[in-house]
C-alpha cells in the first residue's frame, strides 16, 4: 500500500480503541446504495520504478525540440540554485502561512518578493502573486471597477494588440459581473495602438484602459500618451507588462504624468520552466491608495511579543475567509512555489543580470530577424522597435511550414492566422538568450530548405 504505513497490528489496535469491528464499519453512516464496490476503469498501481519508466518513455516520445515560440511563455536559463532551493521540503511541503510563527521562512520570502516586484514595476505595493498573468488581468479589471468611484459604466478598453488569450480570460472571468469590454484597433502598418483609436471614446464614461507593454507582437506601445489620455478621461490605467523587459523599459509607475494605477503580468520568465503552460505566477502591484481594493494575499512586517520583527499575513479582512460574499475575490491561493522561484531568480540575477538577459534576448531576436528575412518569401511586418519577439510575413500559409519544421525538431513560432487573420500569412517568433548563433543558423537553414527546396541545395 504505497504511502500508507499501517501494519495489520496497527489496524487491530486502532479499531479496538474506536470500538468498531472493521474499517468498513466506519462508513456505516453512508447509505449502502452509494458505496462503490470497485474502480475497474482505474489501472492497477505501479511502483516507483515502473512509473518512472513510463514517464521517461512518454518524455522521450516528446523530445526536446529547438524552441522559438514566445507568445506569453518565454524560455530563459533558470539557474540551478533556483529549483534546488524551491524543492526543499520545508518550502515545497509547507502550507499557506496562517500560523505565522511556524512560517517565517515562507512569509519573509513573500515580503522580499513583494519588495522586488513593487520596485520592478515602479509601484508602491505588490501582492503575494495570483494564478497567472491572464487571471491577474481579469482581477485587475474587477479591481478597477471597484476602485474607480467616479465611473459607473464598468466599460473597459482592451487593445487588440493584447494577447488574445488574456482578452478571452478577462471576458470569461469578469463578464459574469456586468463588465463590458471594448476592443481598440491597432495601427496595421506599425503594429501598435495609437491615440487615434482612442479618440472615439473621448468624453465618455470609461472605467479603465488596458495597455500591454510590449504588446503581443513584441512591439513597444506609446505608453505615456495612452496613459495621459486615459487619465484625462477619468479612466484608470491597467498595465500588462513583461517582467524581463522591465530591466530596460520604463516601469508602469512612471508612465505618463501620474503613472499607471495597476500593473499586472506573467511572472513565468522569472525562474519558472515552460512546463506546457503552467504552473506560472501572475504579479499584481498598485498604489497604496488602491490597496484595499487589491485581491490576493499580502504579507506585512510587524513586531512580536518580545519586540522582535517578524512577518504575518495582513489586511486579510478583504479576503474570502473573512468577508465571504463581499470579498474582493474568491481567490485563496498564491502561487507560492513559483513566486519563490521568481524571488530567488531575481536575487541571483540582480538588476545587472536581468538587464543583460533582456539585452541579449533582444539581440538574438534581431539576429534571428536578419537571418530569416534574408530568405526569399520572408519579410518583417512591423517597422517599430520591439522587445524580443518579431512578426514575420510569409508568402504562403504558415501552418504547413511550421509542421515541416516541427518534423525537423524546430518549434518555429506561432501561426497568427487564427487570432489575427487580417495579418495574412504571419508568424510570431521569439529568440531569447538561450538561443545561440548556431541555433539561429539551424533555424534559417531548415526554413530555407522548407520554403525553397531547390535553392537549399
Amino acid at each position: 500500500m504505497p504511502f500508507i504505513p499501517h501494519t495489520a497490528e496497527d489496524v487491530r489496535e486502532m479499531l479496538a480503541v474506536i470500538g468498531a469491528p472493521s474499517i468498513e464499519a466506519l462508513f456505516d453512516e453512508i447509505p449502502a446504495n452509494l458505496r462503490v464496490s470497485s474502480l475497474a476503469e482505474v489501472p492497477t498501481g505501479l511502483n516507483e520504478l515502473e512509473v518512472m519508466q513510463l514517464m521517461q518513455s512518454r518524455a522521450r516520445q516528446d523530445g526536446r525540440p529547438l524552441c522559438f515560440i514566445g507568445a506569453g511563455a518565454y524560455e530563459h536559463h533558470i539557474p540551478a540554485a533556483v529549483w534546488s532551493t524551491v524543492t526543499r521540503g520545508e518550502f515545497y511541503s509547507a502550507y499557506t502561512p496562517y500560523q505565522a510563527e511556524a512560517s517565517q521562512g515562507t512569509l519573509q520570502s513573500i515580503y522580499e518578493y513583494q519588495s522586488m516586484l513593487a520596485s520592478l514595476t515602479g509601484m508602491e505595493v505588490c501582492n503575494a502573486s495570483m494564478y497567472d498573468g491572464a487571471t491577474a488581468l481579469a482581477e485587475a479589471v474587477l479591481m478597477a471597477v471597484r476602485a474607480n468611484r467616479r465611473s459607473r459604466s464598468a466599460r473597459i478598453l482592451m487593445p487588440r494588440s493584447l494577447h488574445p488569450h488574456y482578452r478571452a480570460v478577462a471576458v470569461a472571468t469578469a463578464g459574469n459581473q456586468g463588465v463590458h469590454f471594448e476592443e481598440l484597433p491597432y495601427q496595421p502598418a506599425l503594429g501598435h495602438t495609437t491615440i487615434e483609436s482612442l479618440a472615439p471614446f473621448a468624453g465618455q464614461d470609461i472605467t479603465a484602459l488596458v495597455i500591454a507593454q510590449p504588446n503581443f507582437f513584441g512591439v513597444f506601445e506609446e505608453v505615456d500618451a495612452l496613459t495621459d489620455f486615459a487619465h484625462a478621461q477619468g479612466a484608470l490605467v491597467i498595465a500588462v507588462v513583461n517582467p524581463t523587459s522591465l530591466a530596460v523599459l520604463k516601469p508602469p509607475g512612471a508612465w505618463g504624468d501620474k503613472g499607471a494605477n495597476i500593473a499586472v503580468g506573467e511572472g513565468q520568465p522569472l525562474g519558472c520552466p515552460l512546463s506546457s503552460g503552467g504552473p506560472y505566477f501572475g504579479f499584481m502591484s498598485t498604489r497604496m491608495e488602491h490597496v484595499r481594493q487589491m485581491p490576493g494575499r499580502l504579507v506585512g512586517r510587524t513586531l512580536d511579543l518580545d519586540g522582535r520583527p517578524g512577518f504575518t499575513l495582513t489586511l486579510q479582512a478583504r479576503e474570502q475567509h473573512i468577508r465571504r460574499a463581499k470579498a474582493t475575490s474568491n481567490i485563496c491561493t498564491n502561487q507560492g512555489l513559483l513566486m519563490l522561484a521568481g524571488t530567488i531568480y531575481l536575487a541571483l540575477l540582480g538588476a545587472e543580470g536581468l538587464e543583460r538577459v533582456a539585452a541579449l534576448s533582444m539581440q538574438r531576436t534581431e539576429q534571428l530577424t536578419r537571418a530569416l528575412t534574408a530568405i526569399p518569401g520572408v519579410r518583417r511586418l512591423f517597422g517599430r522597435p520591439g522587445f524580443h519577439e518579431i512578426v514575420l510575413a510569409f508568402d504562403r500559409p504558415v501552418a504547413p511550414v511550421l509542421a515541416a519544421l516541427s518534423a525537423r525538431g524546430i518549434e518555429a513560432g506561432l501561426d497568427l492566422s487564427e487570432h489575427y487573420p487580417e495579418l495574412g500569412y504571419a508568424l510570431l517568433a521569439c529568440a531569447t538568450e538561450t538561443k545561440s548563433t548556431e541555433d539561429i543558423e539551424t533555424y534559417a537553414r531548415h526554413l530555407t530548405e522548407v520554403l525553397c527546396p531547390a535553392r537549399a541545395a
Binding site: H6, G45, G105, V169, A172, S275, G353
Partner: protein, 513 residues
Amino acid sequence: MSLPLREKLIFQYSRPGRGARAQWPAATAATAAAAASVPAQLRRTQRPLLPEVSELDVVRHYTRLSQLNFSIDTHFYPLGSCTMKYNPKACNAAALLPEFAGRHPLSSVAAGQGFMACMYELQEMLKAVTGMCAVALSPLAGAHGEFAGVAMIRAYHRARGESERNEVIVPQAAHGTNPATASMCGCVAREVAVGPDGDVDLAALRAAVGPRTAGIMLTNPSTLGVFERRIEEVARIVHECGGLLYYDGANLNAILGKVRPGDMAFDAIHMNLHKTFSTPHGGGGPGAGAVGVSARLLPFLPLPIVAREAGLTGGDVGGDACGDASAPASYRWLTERDLPQSIGRLTTFAGNAGVLLRAYVYMRMLGREGMRRVGEYATLNANYLEKRLTQLGFDAAYPQRRASHEFILTLRRQAQENGVTAMDVAKRLLDLGFHAPTTYFPQLVSECLLIEPTETESKETLDAFVAAMAQILREASEEPERLRRAPHTLPVRRLDDVRAARLPDLIFKSDAA
C-alpha cells in the same frame, strides 16, 4: 536595544558591485546596441531595487529561511480541510523531466503526444473515481474550479432561457470561497441552516428553494467533518425545483474510492489536486482545481481539454482509463469549435500542467487498490484520533457521529473554565513540535479545532500528538498563562496583527535598516 530579524532580509546582504556573475550573460557591443534600440522616452532610467549579492549569499539566505518553516516533510500537520498528506518525491522528479519541464505550451501537438497522453489519462482516471461524465483540467486552483462550476451552472440556466435563476444556496458552515464564488458569478448566496447533528436542515432547504434557485454548493463530507446522510433527499429537493448541485471537493479524501460524487447526483464538481491527489502546497500554491460534470453540463466545460481521436468521452478505450502503450493513440486539444457553448478559457494556456503531471503520477502509483485505501485509512486515522482525544477529556463537536477524514473539537469549556482558547492550544502545539490543526473554522462551532490526520501518518505519530494534547490539557488547568503566551520556542513569538494592519509595512525601503 531592539531585537533583529532571525534571518536578515536578502537586501541587507547587498554590496554595490556584488553579483552572481555565473548567471550573467556577457555584455557585448551587440547587446548594448540592442538595448539602445529602445526609444529614449521608453527607457528605464532608475535601476530597480534588486539585491546585489553572491550566489552563496542567495543559497545560504533562502536555505536558512526554509529552516524557519514547519512542513509535512518535517512535522505532523493535521490541518483540517487541507489534507496535508505526504507528497511523493517521484511525482516531482517525473514532472521536472527536462522534456516535460522544457515543453512550450504552444508547441505542435505532434511533438506533445507523450504529455497529452498523461493529461488524457488523468482526465479519465478522475472521471472514474468521481463518477462524473467528463473532466476539464484547466482551472488553476480549488477556488478557480469553483468559479468554473458555478459559471457552468449559470450558463446552463441561461441557455434554457432561465437567466432569472441567480440564487445559490450555501450551508451556514460553508467555506468562505463558496459565497465569494457565487458573487463572482453574478449570483446571490442564500445561507441555509445546519441542524444540531451536522446535516443540512431539510425544512430550511425546502423553504429556500424556488424558481430563482440556480443551485446548491455542498461539500460532502461537510466542513463539520461528517457525512451529509440525507444527500439523496437534498439532491431531490434541489433538482425538483430546477436547480443543480455543485460539489466542493475539498473533503474528497474521506471518500476516495468509497463513494463517488456522480453517484450522489452532483452535476458539477471541483477537485483539489493539491489536497486529495498530493501535489505540493508550496507555502500557498500552486494548486489545480480540475472540474467534473454530469452530461447536462458537458457543453459548458472550460477549455482547453484533451481528446482522443474518438472525441470527449473516450469511448474507444474500452473499460480501461489508461490505454495500452502499443496501440498508438492520437491526442488533440478541443477548442471553441468543438464546444461552442463553453464558458470559455480560464487561463492563458492549458492549466497548471506541472501540477497535473504530479497528480497523474500519484494516481498511477496508487492504482485502483491504492485509491480505496486512501478513504479507508484517512477515516481510520481520524476516528482513532477523535476517540483518543475525547478519552483524554476533550469535547468533540459531533460526538454521536462517525468522523469522516477529519473531526472537530470544541474548546468552549476550557475557554470558560480556564480562559484558554483554541488559539492558545494551537500555539502551544507548535512548541511541542506539531503544526496546529485548523482553528476557528467552521465558524459555526465556537473555539474549534478541525483536525485531519490524513492516511499517510502512522499510529506512533498520532499517539505522539495525543501525548502532546494531554500535556496541553494539564497545562490548561495548572499553568494557563503558559498556553496564553505560547509559542515560546519558535523563531518568533505571537505577532502583533493590529500593528501590521494599522502601520502597513509591505515592502522593503532602502533607507530603512
